[in-house]
């Protein structure tokens, strides 16, 4: 069942996996020559920024507690490295006006290629997400390192100006390994 002219598809919160997200986004622009926008709205808790903040806050609380116990003054939070800062940047890309295709800038090409292959291997190994009951589903966080997590958090270039979210689904579905056409 196809509706041809859906221009906006929205996923409300990251409560599904990347397969399901792709099925849903795929409902857009089914008519020939059409374009559409697909938007995933994520809660703060599932962003790297919030995770990093949370880690800093936790460290501060811990430091305060220690202060109270020992009576010493310490500065906390500075040496902390958040999980987010260790994330590989997959979206190392050159700028495309239409934002539809991704290519790698030559200086980072080798590093980026290695990182991408690491992620690809990682996605292949992951066990298939099993459907959980509605109750279980409600309060789950996006798993760090999952394809969905990468789609949300890892596809952005360092300067945050270039956005190439296509890289994660490309690796996950191995679209770069597919033939352009298939003659039967």
């Amino acid at each position: 069942m196809d509706l041809p002219d859906i221009r906006i598809v929205i996923q409300w919160k990251a409560t599904c996996d990347l397969c399901t997200l792709w099925q849903r986004f795929g409902r857009a622009a089914r008519g020939a020559g059409q374009e559409a926008t697909a938007i995933l709205f994520v809660e703060k808790k599932d962003t790297d920024e919030e995770r990093a903040l949370k880690a800093v806050r936790a460290a501060e609380r811990l430091a305060k507690r220690n202060e109270a116990v020992t009576g010493q003054k310490r500065k906390a939070g500075n040496q902390l490295t958040s999980g987010a800062s260790k994330r590989p940047t997959l979206g190392e890309s050159t700028n495309h006006d239409d934002g539809t295709s991704c290519s790698t800038s030559s200086s980072h090409e080798k590093v980026a290629t290695e990182l991408r292959e690491q992620r690809r291997a990682h996605y292949k190994k992951r066990p298939v997400a099993k459907m959980t009951t509605a109750k279980e589903k409600k309060r789950v966080h996006v798993e760090v390192g999952s394809p969905m997590d990468d789609f949300i958090n890892a596809a952005i270039d360092h300067d945050d100006l270039i956005d190439c979210r296509r890289i994660v689904p490309m690796l996950f579905f191995e679209n770069d390994k597919r033939r352009k056409s298939y003659l039967l």
Partner: protein, 202 residues
Amino acid sequence: MENLWKKTSVTKRLLNFIFDEGHCISQWGAFRKEYQHLGSLRYLIPEHVPFYVPSATLPPMVLRDIAEVLHLRPDLTEYIMRSNDRPEIRLVVRTLTFTAKSFQDLAFLIPDNFEEGDPPPDKFLIFFDDRKEAERACKYLRARLPPNLRDKIRWFHSVITDKTRQDNVEAMRTGEIWGFCCTDSFGMVISCNDLKFTSNLP
């Protein structure tokens, strides 16, 4: 059910077995216990009847899972793989700026102070993994419209009848409905009029 596949009168009329939206065999494996038993079909029906497993979303791990569940014969399996990239769809990720409960991040779909006679907004689908949430979001969006236009936005989930589903889909096709707040059941409308022999697995 098993007896059905042993009847030659049935099996000789089988051309092929199609598991449409094949990714469900894997993803719903834990949910629909019956899918785990699909594999025995391979031994019940004549060997020359092929299985087809079409889907737009079969990453390697899912494909492996399906091959196992269906007992696909490695030497007799042909993989026809195409890219599922949709370059015509812009991909956007946005962090919620308001509370999720308020649904205010969806306000952009219906311009402020919308009046009758204004050009209709772009057709939209909003997916939720919770029926109640879909309904609440729908009510929020409806409240942004003048009362006589509020039925332009509907919710769509498994607790509505097949008839209503078909009607809803038709109404969106004609532009009478502008948008749905839906769950995955949005896709589950069967629209074949000329099937001669079908078997719907429970």
